[in-house]
């Protein structure tokens, strides 16, 4: 049985996986990537793991999903703020050590591709995956193909402007989806509210240490009003963003994934309500919005399928 290799290369770890023909992870290993790793030596280390996984196996290909702006045609990492890389010819660096075909793309595309292949019915043709993590990203599958766009940058859903003079986003703009539904911002505003006092969020902060998107979800589920409001706003913004995507692309499926998506109904209920209120029925009637299940392996599986 042929195998594939997938690497999910982020700013904390590189997860390297051996994936079988049925898209199951057979082996997985992590390599640390914090402290701006040297591209050449990281490529060598990752290639060593790949070679070890390959022993006695027929390997079809290796795919790498990298957090950053990627030129997938040339296999170059244009910019990765998380890794501190600029213009790194990652495919060529890996080719020095490995003989099978290698593809490099961005991690959001890889994760979307993995979700498309493992979590969506075979009948789905047009699928939008929204990754709600620290930041917000996405991947767009149209007619069963990953849509990359002119420079491989398609799917930057997190920086759609939803509020003209809205919350400031780290990208320099205001009112981006990410500034409402990204884990970094949810935690940031929760901490601000806890500090200001009077919302009982300060108690959550005392009990759980520094507030995060996760503890903010616990607080909301326990009935904390301020926490509920932050999730309600995030869900509403997400609903507007999904509505705009649905009007533009008329997908059959929208999947939410990433750590923040684990908030589940806190996010999904207001998102669905706004979508219903704002969008024509013929279009919303055709789309299913759901949260990915146990999608932590989607990144490496999707990378292996690139």
């Amino acid at each position: 049985m042929p195998y594939r290799l997938g690497i999910d290369l982020g700013g904390t770890t590189a997860k390297i996986a051996l994936v079988d023909a049925k898209n199951r992870v057979e082996r997985q290993e992590s390599v640390g990537t914090a402290n701006r790793p040297d591209p050449k030596s990281l490529a060598r280390t990752m290639a060593e793991v790949c070679r070890r996984f390959s022993i006695g196996k027929k390997i079809q290909s290796l795919g790498v999903g990298v957090a950053g702006d990627i030129d997938s045609e040339r296999g170059v990492v244009r910019v990765s703020p998380n890794l501190g890389w600029k213009n790194v010819p990652l495919r060529n660096l890996l080719k020095r050590h490995l003989a099978f075909p290698i593809m490099v793309d961005n991690d959001a595309n890889a994760a979307a591709w993995g979700i498309f292949h493992t979590q969506v019915p075979a009948s789905a043709q047009n699928v939008i995956v929204i990754t709600l993590g620290t930041g917000v990203g996405g991947g767009i599958i149209l007619n069963r193909s990953l849509h990359r766009g002119a420079t491989g940058s398609a799917g930057e859903i997190g920086h759609m402007t939803l509020v003209q003079n809205g919350r400031r986003c780290n990208c320099g703009n205001r009112g981006c989806l990410e500034a409402y539904a990204g884990g970094y911002y949810l935690a940031k505003y929760a901490r601000q509210m806890a500090k200001a006092g009077g919302t009982a969020l300060e108690k959550w902060s005392e009990l759980n240490g520094e507030l995060t998107a996760k503890s903010l979800a616990q607080a909301a589920n326990a009935g904390n009003r301020a926490a509920k409001n932050l999730w309600e706003e995030a869900g509403r913004m997400l609903g507007i963003a999904i509505g705009n995507l649905v009007y533009t692309l008329n997908p059959d499926t929208v999947v939410l994934t990433g750590g923040v998506a684990k908030a589940g109904g806190l996010l999904l209920r207001p998102a669905r309500r706004v979508l219903r209120e704002r969008t024509f029925k013929t279009i919303t009637g055709a789309v299913r919005v759901k949260i990915a299940k146990g999608a932590t392996e989607a990144g490496v599986i999707g990378a292996s399928l690139l």
Copy 2:
């Protein structure tokens, strides 16, 4: 030389054209469609014109672009408010009279397809066409194919929400792009301002009769402040919408067409400025935003190419 037939079927007229292999309109004829025409008799009349155009010519196909929600796979007009039609099997009605292959799609897709084939360099792969007429619509070409989506409704760009509690739109929602950049709304707000007085728009109204998007552009070009502000706002909203589309789809080309696009720089200057301000350089650097030239025939040419 083989020919194609194209019909641009709107709520006022059906334009029927004989198009040659070089995408030039050789003959064109119009049939009135106001007053909710009977589908069967309109199909017969249009087919008669098609047959007349076909005499002594080799016809490859007929394509029809219809204002409304279209099921292009079955060739059915699901709903066309402009024509007063519901569930009209237009392809089958035309097939009774004509022997060549017939395609039916919505008019915005047909126009986008026509513009893609006549106004965009051959190197363009991913093209978004925004039609700024009475309303705002669009057509999306990805990897050189028309993207229709799950129910053929993709490209409904005019109803993207840009302002949560913004201007009321006829669709029932608030803050749609169309409510800022559609000709109907530009004229509506201009008339309101003229009526309120104090903006010198009342003078334009006296000189030119009821204010329209066209006379509003003349007023702005002649220096009228209120008119300039309305165009500035329309252009800004258009810039935000284009930015969101660019983040999502990373196109190489965005083309503005339709009567309102004739305002040219009044619309394009603020749109480009907002796009530059709000969007990452790697993405905006790859996209060219332009206004279509003399695109009145794009509808029939695009229909003929469906």
